[in-house]
């Protein structure tokens, strides 16, 4: 039986609050709003996820569909994190961020500057340029970045409030292709690390947290699952499990077995 716990953590255990750019979050799961079959399912999923921060995109007004996305998100009690998805240059991303600030009265921006249509991988030089300009303009910048620890450090150095490295390409569900780099990014920066993109299922989210990430962002993995609400509960539990495991300190990996029962005191049972 799945019971979505709205107020407590999924595990019932205390999870430290996450501080990003002056904001305090109790949930370490960020949710993308794209890909849901309906606004009703999205609302139910947000509740199950426990997420307090959700991304939205900025697009041309469609007179034919006067949706109530903003109203639904307001009723859900979540904060908006507008993104610059679809931007391929620093100039477009900066302008989109400014438009998002006008539209949503928030200076928070999930900065995406894409460099390749097939992989949707970030364009590193344009990303860094845009991040620097937006920080100068007073934005709280959360950049979607590659799993390169050097670029992550440069983004933190110019004043980004967090870094959001990809595990694998957006929407691919391939999980974390280079766990080693994600762990290096954790060492390289002092700002929160939010694993973004590539999450396929709950174990990927747990791994991200075990590697030292402070939070996980999931979109397609939840919204395009056969049962988004159930997957949101799974992701929530996985993020908490990974966070707890990270804090608990895992045993080192060994090549050979280490007996967990003592050798001492073994009986002599005679010849076989």
């Amino acid at each position: 039986m799945i019971v979505a716990m709205r107020d407590a953590t999924e595990t019932g255990l205390a999870i430290d609050e996450l501080k990003i750019g002056g904001r305090t979050l109790r949930s370490r799961l960020l949710l993308g709003t794209g890909g849901f079959p309906s606004l009703a399912v999205m609302a139910e999923t947000i509740a199950a996820s426990g997420s307090e921060l959700v991304t939205v995109a900025l697009r041309r007004v469609d007179p034919a569909s006067r949706g109530s996305l903003i109203d639904v998100l307001e009723r859900a009690g979540v904060e908006l994190l507008p993104n610059t998805a679809g931007c391929y240059t620093a100039r477009d991303a900066v302008l989109t961020a400014k438009l998002a600030r006008e539209a949503f009265s928030t200076d928070w921006i999930k900065l995406e500057v894409i460099g390749d249509e097939d992989t949707l991988m970030p364009d590193a030089p344009e990303l860094l340029l845009a991040a620097e300009q937006l920080v100068d303009e007073g934005f709280t910048v959360l950049p979607y970045t590659t799993d390169d620890p050097v670029l992550a450090r440069r983004l933190a150095d110019v004043g980004c409030a967090a870094v959001m490295p990809l595990g694998s390409p957006i929407g691919s569900g391939m999980g974390i292709r280079n766990p080693y780099n994600i762990a290096l990014i954790r060492e390289a920066v002092d700002v929160p690390v939010v694993l973004d993109a590539g999450i396929g299922t709950a174990s990927d989210a747990a791994l991200a947290m075990e590697l030292g990430c402070d939070a996980v962002m999931a979109a397609s993995a939840i919204s395009r699952a056969q049962d988004p609400v159930r997957m949101a509960s799974a992701m929530r539990a996985a993020v908490e499990a990974g966070w707890l495991a990270r804090g608990a300190g895992r045993i080192p990996r060994r090549t050979y077995a280490t007996a967990s029962s003592p050798d001492e005191g073994l009986p002599d049972l005679g010849p076989a």
Binding site: T55, V56, A57, R66, I70, P82, N83, K98, A103
Partner: protein, 67 residues
């Protein structure tokens, strides 16, 4: 000719941004809406006064589900 959200429109030069929004059934108080003209943000406070020039490219944007 003024281009509104990528399409030629019958909006005329001299009309305000607020007038264009009204054509889209959007009030000046509409939440979650932003406007750019010729690649520059037009702040909400200027919607009533900002008059469009000849050949202006107007983008009227709002929240969509995404990433």
């Amino acid at each position: 000719m003024i281009v509104l959200n990528g399409e030629n429109s019958d909006v005329r030069a001299g009309e305000t941004v607020a007038a264009v929004l009204a054509r889209l059934d959007l009030s000046p108080a509409a939440r979650g809406v932003a406007v750019a003209v010729d690649g520059e943000v037009v702040p909400r406070a200027e919607w009533e006064s900002f008059a469009l020039g000849e050949h202006a490219r107007v983008e009227v944007l709002t929240a969509m589900q995404g990433g």
